[in-house]
């Protein structure tokens, strides 16, 4: 399959929407992507033809539903290079995955005074769960700093990891697009005797992912940023790590035996999947993975590097010093997440002005307030690119941005 953006765009019904006579330019995929017809069809077909509860009934429909869900689990495992499908735990999003990991692994392994290392560029979903353990257990947090180029400053890495129990780090910043050196971080964590868990929410949708090659112990990501539906996320962990973790939520499906005196837990992955899961959403995520696999993640990445380079170059050429694009300057070492500051116009106002031309970007602190503080920023306007965006979208963004001058008159 050749990488033809016009053809790809046509697969996404929402992207052909016209509002007030103008087409839409969707540049907020880092917040949530859109989804192709094949994902919508898969979920629709599931509900129309095969829905029943999973892992329970002995009849035809229940078997079909279970097969559809477990088939999706296998596809997702293959997509991220997981050795076993039972290592893929379904949650409702990456935030729940990280909370599951923090609460379960944390309760099993962390005690007062134990050290967890984070970075300054984490999303709140990889900060607040650890603050909660600071309050409940009394763990200590250390922070890998971010340099002025928006990359991790690893000068003191060994000292920060010394004696640490865990390193929890993002693979790609949702604010700066920075791709972090996960292999190096994994090696350093293991050399220090620490476990490493990685937030792949911004990484999995955009780059070929192999959790074994990355050398990590656990991984979290969400479905809705990778063409899948909302309501489904994943925690991947090595079998021995997941086996050693206590259950998180208690209820149906996660037990082998329940008596009035207690319970015994089911095997993986069911141990962490109490209650009826988001079956249709899991099936939808399986279809999203099929779509991405058919395109080829190498080609997706190549397209985005090329488009990011075009965006950075053309915005700079047009606006010069009036525009600041935060994060790494080299497109090959970053994702297509462009945090912009334009003149003195507040990002919230930028977003409002762009909305007039149906250009959709995110304004605010992007749930990464510690990073914003380090960068000396209150907010940015963030345009994020994906496989269905093209150079025309970037040009539309630039034209719409220029119209801010008419209102703010700077």
């Amino acid at each position: 399959m050749t990488f033809d953006v016009a053809t790809i765009k046509a697969d996404f019904p929402l992207l052909s929407r016209v509002i007030d006579g103008k087409p839409i330019t969707y540049l907020d995929s880092a917040a949530s992507s859109q989804r192709p017809q094949s994902v919508l069809d898969a979920m629709d077909r599931y509900y129309r033809e095969s829905h029943a509860n999973v892992h329970r009934g002995a009849y035809r429909l229940a078997t079909e539903a279970t097969d559809a869900m477990e088939g999706a689990r296998q596809k997702i495992a293959d997509f991220i290079g997981a050795p076993h499908a039972h290592e893929v735990i379904f949650t409702k999003n990456a935030t729940e995955s990280m909370n599951l990991f923090a609460q379960s692994w944390g309760r099993g392994h962390l005690h007062a005074g134990d050290v967890v290392v984070l970075t300054e560029m984490e999303h709140h979903a990889n900060i607040v769960p650890w603050h909660m353990l600071t309050e409940s257990i009394g763990i200590e947090l250390r922070w890998i700093p971010v340099d002025e180029n928006g990359e991790l400053d690893l000068t003191d890495l060994d000292r920060l990891l010394d004696g640490a129990k865990l390193l929890s780090v993002t693979a790609m910043s949702n604010v700066l697009g920075t791709i972090t050196p996960i292999k190096r971080l994994a090696d350093a964590a293991h050399a220090a005797g620490a476990t490493i868990v990685v937030d792949g929410s911004q990484y999995v949708p955009h780059l070929p992912t192999d959790v074994v090659d990355l050398g990590i112990d656990a991984f979290v990501f969400t479905g809705h940023k990778m063409l899948g539906p909302t309501g489904v996320g994943v925690l991947w962990g090595k079998t021995e790590l997941l086996d050693a973790m206590p259950p998180f939520l208690g209820g149906g499906d996660m037990i082998l035996q329940v008596t009035k005196d207690g319970f015994t837990t089911n095997e993986l992955p069911h141990k962490f999947e109490a209650g009826t899961p988001a079956i249709a959403e899991i099936v939808g995520l399986g279809a999203a993975v099929d779509y991405l696999t058919a395109l080829g993640m190498e080609d997706v990445r190549a397209h985005e590097v090329s488009l990011t380079a075009y965006a950075m170059r053309s915005l700079k050429e047009r606006f010069g010093d009036d525009i600041t694009i935060h994060g790494p300057s080299e497109p090959a070492s970053r994702g297509g997440v462009l945090s912009l500051i334009y003149k003195d116009v507040h990002p919230h106002d930028i977003s409002q002005v762009l909305d007039q031309d149906n250009v959709y970007v995110r304004a605010g602190h992007h749930c990464a307030k510690p990073l914003m503080q380090v960068m000396g920023l209150n907010a940015t306007a963030r345009a994020s690119l994906y496989l269905y965006n093209d150079e025309a979208d970037v040009d539309t963004l630039a034209d719409a941005l220029a119209s801010a001058d008419d209102i703010f008159g700077f």
């Binding site: 507040h346 409002q352 703010f408």
Partner: protein, 156 residues
Amino acid sequence: MAGLEDLYKEIILDHYRNPRNRGELETPPAVKAEGFNPLCGDEIVVFIDVDDSGTIADVAIGGQGCSISQSSASMMSAAIKGKTTDEARDLIESFKGLMSIHEKGLDGAAAEGDKPDLSMGDLSALRGVVKFPVRIKCAVLSWNTLAQALDDARTN
């Protein structure tokens, strides 16, 4: 669809570019309250100095945010300076009323009981914000922060 001219009125942009009563007051005697909009990261700091007769003798505004939150704070500071705390509370109520008017009552003169409150002065320029529901939070941030400051001043 509402046009941007409904939102970015000249008087609003003037308050954004030239904010009134910008700065800090010494606490005590002044009280200080901080307000945050967790969605966009806007921060407003309100200082009020209430004298023995219950009059807001001085006011200062700090923090950072978008044109709507900043201009609303600036206009608010101008409107409450020299007013009693009771008057300020009434103004908070009036302003919030202005912000929650249903959109169908805005266009044209049809809406009854919905005429601009003359005492609102410049603040009436912000009534266009209700056509942009996401921005209502920006406009009321400083007013909620003022309410907090008034509560603090009463307990002091």
